[in-house]
């Protein structure tokens, strides 16, 4: 298990390889469909400082209001591939060091990870309660009114957030490997000539 403290520098990220198990500590920002659309189309300056050198987490959380504070109740990852059209641009434009989600991403993102020194971390899908417990602080939230709770951008601090590097900054992708392997077995089972 490798400990990563966010924000983080490029050098530490470049050391990571596909298959590494990591534990995240520090600040990250949630964002899914509406957020990515907003980040690419309107290029808001308000979030820049929060995103620089840290990671965006594909997550639509369940959040509860306690007095003036927010509490994360459930916060597992959502499917990342939906952000494929935006992700490369967002990584470059905002200086991200990583993307956290589930299911992996496509070739455009892989290229952006390599070019900018960033990684894709796979969290465990559905791990809502455990990951919510790792959220120790909610700093602020963007676009809550307009996007609603799951789509808003929540700036949070996490402690011991578990994930696996499935796409690294050297062009490596576990998803590709598993896909190729399982597709070969599929062809055998279906008697389709390779």
């Amino acid at each position: 298990m490798i400990d990563l403290t966010l924000p983080i520098d490029e050098k530490s990220i470049r050391k990571l390889k596909v298959g590494d198990e990591v534990s995240l500590n520090g600040r990250l920002v949630t964002g899914r469909d509406a957020a990515h659309d907003w980040l690419v189309k309107e290029r808001p300056d308000s979030v820049r400082d929060f995103l620089k050198n840290t990671m965006i987490y594909h997550c639509g959380p369940v959040v509860k209001k306690r007095g003036n504070d927010w509490e994360f109740v459930a916060a597992g990852p959502t499917t990342s591939i939906r952000e494929e059209p935006y992700q490369g641009t967002v990584i470059q434009e905002y200086g991200l060091r990583g993307v956290i989600g589930k299911g992996g991403m496509g070739p455009q993102t892989l290229k952006a990870l390599e070019a900018n020194g960033a990684v894709y971390l796979h969290a465990i899908g559905g791990l809502a309660t455990l990951i919510a417990e790792s959220v120790v602080k909610v700093h602020t939230v963007f676009k809550l009114e307009e996007f609603g709770v799951p789509e808003a951008m929540w700036v949070i601090d996490v402690r011991d957030f578990p994930a696996v590097v499935t796409m690294d900054s050297h062009g490596g992708s576990l998803h590709e490997k598993i896909f190729r392997h399982s597709d070969n077995i599929r062809k055998k089972l279906l008697h389709i000539d390779v």
Binding site: G19, A74, G103, I124, G126, P150
Partner: protein, 295 residues
């Protein structure tokens, strides 16, 4: 026989059903995940994932918080005795849904596709989705499935014959489509998954049939021996694909395969493949004015 009950009692019973569905998994699902965990190699990512999942299920139950934050499309199958108004039941289910959202058992999950606005309370057009049936018992039975979006996105439908798969209009063709669907899904439906397969029907009834299979116990098998054989053959072969929990690799790609059949048109042969993630949230209750029994 007339069933006389109070609105608030039924509403409260549905609210509790939603709470259970969101925060706890049925024992057969937990059992299947436990067995899968034991089966994975010591120290493997697959085993690590399944252990974390089991821990998450336990914590969610203790704290009464959602197992997964995507509390999904809420699909109800309601069996009513003759004489009970469907509109009344629908209204009460919608009210319970709003209350469950306020109590954060459900995440606001109903978005208007035109304006992009979230209704904020999980109600809207066809939300929640309620399917009514009539039965002879002097009780109301309610089954609830919380069907997540990630696994819904990898659910799919095939029209046989399919040339690229060499899948003909027979059960061998059905076999091929299910293998293909699971390979396409990879880990994205939060594997290990449960496959509900609807053979026949039209595009909508076939998919509904596929989803209704999720109400079956994971350890049952189809009463028709030929379909039972296909179910177990598929389960065995899917677990040789090496996709594994979350698509990190491993021996557990699927937890169960359940097949349902419906008559089809001579011109069509649809295979509807519904994918349910490991967070297989299905619960049911039997409501009478005197007592509510949850499964």
């Amino acid at each position: 026989m007339e069933l006389d009950f109070q609105d608030h009692a039924f509403r409260a019973a549905v609210l509790e059903l939603i709470r259970r569905a969101s925060t706890d998994l049925a024992p057969d699902v937990v059992q299947a995940i436990q067995t899968a965990r034991e089966n994975e190699d010591e120290g493997s990512a697959a085993r690590g994932v399944l252990s974390a999942i089991l821990k998450n299920i336990e914590r969610a139950r203790e704290k009464s918080t959602p197992i997964c934050q995507d509390t999904g499309t809420n699909i109800y199958v309601v069996s009513l005795p003759l004489g009970i108004s469907m509109r009344r039941i629908e209204k009460l289910i919608r009210e319970a849904t709003r209350e469950a959202t306020e109590k954060v058992y459900l995440r606001p999950n109903a978005v208007d596709p035109v304006t992009g606005k979230n209704s904020g309370d999980n109600t809207g057009v066809l939300a929640p989705y309620i399917h009514f049936e009539e039965w002879d018992e002097p009780a109301i039975a309610v089954k609830l499935l919380l069907k997540g979006g990630g696994c819904e996105n990898v659910s799919t439908q095939y029209a046989l014959p399919d040339v690229t798969l060499k899948a003909d209009r027979n059960l061998e063709g059905v076999y091929k489509t299910v293998v293909d669907a699971v390979v396409k899904a990879q880990g994205q439906g939060c594997a290990p998954g449960i496959l509900g397969v609807g053979v026949g029907g039209d595009r909508s009834s076939g998919m509904m049939l596929a989803k209704k299979q999720f109400f079956r116990r994971l350890d049952d098998s189809h009463p028709d021996p030929e379909l039972a054989r296909l179910e177990s053959r598929l389960l065995k072969d899917l677990n040789t694909l090496g996709i594994g929990p979350m698509g990190f690799g491993g021996k557990t790609t699927a937890l169960a395969v359940k097949i349902g059949v419906a008559h089809r048109l001579p011109a069509s042969y649809f295979v509807s493949v519904a994918y349910m993630c490991w967070a297989d949230r299905k619960h049911s209750m039997r409501f009478t004015p005197d007592e509510v029994i949850y499964d």
